[in-house]
């Protein structure tokens, strides 16, 4: 075997890929060839490192130097200085790792210190397109042991005892789900993976599929053995082309190695996987809608029972889990359920991956033990709001979840605690909002989303969400009355009680949670006709203050000629003409234009 002295890991997740990480790989390879070191140094494209805010990310081992915001032009310097001369390129290092005595370990930085990686264990570590690297990290050993040493019931018992709960949002115990599917009568059964990650601001599942696709392939095969299925479907969002490509590669490699197909591991067990692409319908994340979509129909949910475990895909018993749930399975089987139960809290075991986004320093992907507080995630790992702005709320659970205010930041992250404060775990999107975000506008934004994505099958959701949206439009548009706030609450109650599926039942959550914690903002909109965060355009006016020196820059940039005034004299905005585009405010060098 050839000895490689240095490994250069380049993040090829969607975030870094979008910032040209492919070109960085090419440039690195070119420079390595120029230095004739291609036998000693290997460049590897990995999955997501998590710290997307600093992408594109390049890590050089054995030193563990973490280079951030690398450009293709930096490749030459990294090769010539670091690889050839052994001098780390300090200017490109992630500043948190730079210490007086040299480079500190990445795991000691505030971003990584409190993280514990189970589902993301291989992301940013291995080459997702190379099955050998997955195997080198004990990949497929859980499958091998399952097929040769364990009975299906033993596997289900291990999953049950681990306390693993569905990571797609609702938190149903995974072991029970497997038990139901195993107990269901039927000669044909299916295993399905929900990779239709539709929550805006969530990209956990995508990162797992991009960074460690084999873990999902392995887990689904184990699930097939446990419940007695021989075919599995992966339903992936079509918006994730890189994830789809890597899954296709993973499935092909697994077939070549005999981990998929006929007689897996030389046993009599057959199992194979088929990828199906979504086509842009949020409701398809709901399990019955997802199954309808795989069957080639409109993705409309149906009432349950019968549950998919009894009557699912093509009317056969079906086991359906989400990507992150599957990614936990091989780890649990390798390390034992006892190890898994040591992580997390009494009712919520293990870890949860969050996609940190919005007004936060370290946007990216984090995996923390359950029970970690939101404050630790937002302030320590996330680094707080940029620009010295005040934190206002953290939104979890996407359009089904709620906004959590600063007063609740110290609650531990668990399924039950999040529910008790009007939000939910959801799939793991965590969007941070600061003082510049209007909570009424945020509620309106989410309702706009659900109105658009409601499938239209049941009236409470189809009509109810639209009426909610219209009320919120009225309030943000300045036409709201105090009575409207009561109407909102009544309507929310009816929608959540009477809708057919989870989409409608949870659609009012963004409204209810903002009404609960930010009622003063709603009241400012309806009583004083003011938007405290200065977001709602109909409720604010641009004005020119005495700081104006009459440079005429604003008047020239105004698209509607709403600004008048002579040179070197105070200018005035004609409110009737102003369309509130903000161009003047941007142009003014003297901060003389204000919103109020």
């Amino acid at each position: 075997m050839e000895i490689v002295r240095s490994h250069i890991l380049v993040c090829a997740g969607t975030g870094c890929h979008a910032s040209n990480s492919d070109e960085i790989v090419e440039a690195l390879q070119k420079h390595i060839e120029t230095e004739k070191m291609d036998k000693e140094v290997r460049v590897i494209k990995t999955g997501c490192f998590g710290l997307c805010a600093l992408g594109p990310v390049v890590v050089v081992y054995p030193e563990g130097a973490f280079y951030s915001r690398v450009t293709p032009e930096d490749a030459g310097e990294i090769v010539r200085e670091h690889i050839v001369k052994g001098r780390i390129v300090t200017r490109l290092l992630y500043q948190e790792t730079v210490q007086e005595e040299g480079v500190s370990s990445l795991s000691e930085t505030p971003f990584y210190k409190k993280q514990f990686r189970v589902a993301l264990r291989n992301c940013g570590v291995i080459d997702p397109e190379n099955i050998d690297e997955y195997i080198a990290f004990d990949g497929y050993s859980a499958l091998g042991r399952a097929l040769t040493e364990q009975t299906p019931q033993e596997i289900i018992d291990i999953i049950s005892k681990s306390g693993l709960r569905g990571r797609g949002g609702a938190g149903f115990p995974t072991g029970r789900k497997w038990q139901f599917a195993a107990a269901a009568q039927g000669d044909v059964k299916y295993v399905v993976c929900n990779a239709d990650e539709g929550d805006p601001g969530a990209f956990m599942d995508r990162s797992v599929l991009e960074g460690d696709p084999h873990s999902v392939v392995e887990a689904m095969t184990i699930a097939g053995y446990a419940i007695g299925a021989h075919e599995g479907y992966l339903y992936v969002r079509a918006e994730y082309p890189i994830a789809v490509k890597r899954l296709e590669i993973a499935i092909r490699q697994a077939r070549e190695y005999g981990f998929l197909g006929k007689g897996i591991f030389g046993t009599g067990f057959d199992f194979d996987l088929i990828i199906r692409l979504g086509a842009g319908a949020f409701v398809c994340g709901e399990e019955t809608a997802l199954l309808a979509s795989i069957e080639g129909r409109r993705g409309e949910p149906r009432p349950r029972p019968p549950f998919p475990a009894v009557k699912g895909l093509f009317a056969k018993p079906t086991l359906l889990n989400n990507v992150e749930t599957y990614a936990n399975i091989p780890w649990i089987l390798q390390n034992g359920w006892e190890e898994f139960t040591k992580i997390g809290t009494e009712k919520s075991k293990g870890t949860k991956v969050f996609a940190l986004g919005g007004k936060i320093h370290n946007t990216g992907l984090v995996e923390v033990p359950m029970g970690t507080t939101l404050r630790e995630v937002v302030e320590e790992i996330g680094g707080g709001c940029p620009g010295g702005k005040a934190f206002k709320a953290a939104q979890t659970g996407g359009p089904s979840g709620g906004c959590i205010p600063a007063e609740h930041l110290d609650i531990p992250i668990e399924y039950e605690t999040l529910m008790s404060i009007g939000s939910m775990m959801g799939s793991g999107g965590l969007i941070v909002m600061d003082e510049d975000n209007c909570m009424v506008d945020i509620a309106r934004y989410f309702l706009d989303f659900t109105v658009d994505e409601s499938c239209g099958k049941c009236a409470p959701c189809r009509i109810g969400t639209r009426r909610l949206y219209q009320l919120l439009e009225k309030i943000t548009g300045g036409g709201g009355t105090p009575e409207d706030l009561d109407t909102l609450e009544v309507l929310c109650k009816h929608i959540s009680e009477n809708s057919l599926c989870g989409l409608g039942q949870t659609a009012p959550n963004p409204v209810l949670s903002t009404l609960r914690y930010f009622r003063d903002e709603y009241e400012a909109h309806v009583r004083d006709k003011k938007c405290p965060a200065r977001v709602c355009k109909d409720l604010l006016q641009y004005k020119i203050t005495d700081a104006c020196i009459g440079c005429t820059a604003c008047a020239r940039v105004c698209p509607t000629d709403a600004i008048t005034g002579k040179v070197k004299e105070l200018h005035v905005i004609d409110q009737a003409k102003c369309i509130k585009c903000g161009a003047c405010e941007e142009k003014c060098k003297f901060k003389a234009i204000i919103k109020e």
Binding site: T14, G15, A18, S19, C52, A53, G55, E197, G198, D199, P200, G201, A202, F203, R206, A238, E239, Y240, R276, L277, G278, A279, G280, A281, F282, S293, I294, E295, G296, R297, R298, G299, E300, F314, A355, G357, G358, K359, T363, G364, Q395, G398, G429, I431, M433, N437, I442, Y445, F446, C455, P559, C581, G582, E586
Partner: protein, 165 residues
């Protein structure tokens, strides 16, 4: 529901027709074949013209109304052609809280084309998309395959200029 039927005349080629026949042959009779067949057909034609839907319905032995029901349900299926450059403004939450609405407004005014439509010369189409998952780069727009992240609204104009010339 608005009439979304396209006004652009159908201009399929013989190669495209052959590709369509192959798609039908490959999927006919398979369970749940409708979605993959539609996706492949859209790859061939760039959109799903009525003529193509009729061929698919006949070939796959499903009714045209059922097929249209599926096409109109999913946002990725389009019965209208897309522009040469497809400008997509991400309206996911992470982008939205970082002024994606302003960015969309600027794209629309710069191109004179509202989200969901095509410029009359067929060069640009604008879309307000759901989260594309590049939240670390928020706010993001894509033009075809090119991704522009960490945008300030005033940068929009310069980016589009590259494609306008």
């Amino acid at each position: 529901m608005p009439n979304t039927k396209t006004v652009v005349p159908f201009q399929g080629t013989a190669e495209q027709e052959q590709a369509l026949r192959d798609i039908i042959g490959e999927h006919k009779g398979r369970p749940g074949a409708v979605m993959p067949a539609l996706q492949k057909a859209q790859e061939v034609y760039g959109y799903l013209p009525e003529e193509v839907l009729i061929s698919l319905a006949e070939g796959l032995d499903v009714s045209l109304s059922e097929l249209y029901g599926v096409v109109s349900f999913y946002t990725q299926f389009s019965v209208n052609p897309k522009g040469k450059y497809q400008v997509a403004v991400c309206m996911g939450t992470a982008c939205y809280v970082k002024s994606a609405a302003d960015i969309l407004a600027r794209v629309e005014s710069k191109l004179g084309c509202k989200a969901g439509s095509v410029t009359p010369d067929g060069r640009f189409s604008v879309e307000a998309t759901r989260c594309i998952g590049a939240c670390g780069l928020a706010p993001v727009i894509t033009v075809g395959e090119d991704v522009y992240g960490r945008l300030a609204p005033e940068e929009v104009s310069g980016i589009l200029d590259k494609y306008l010339t």
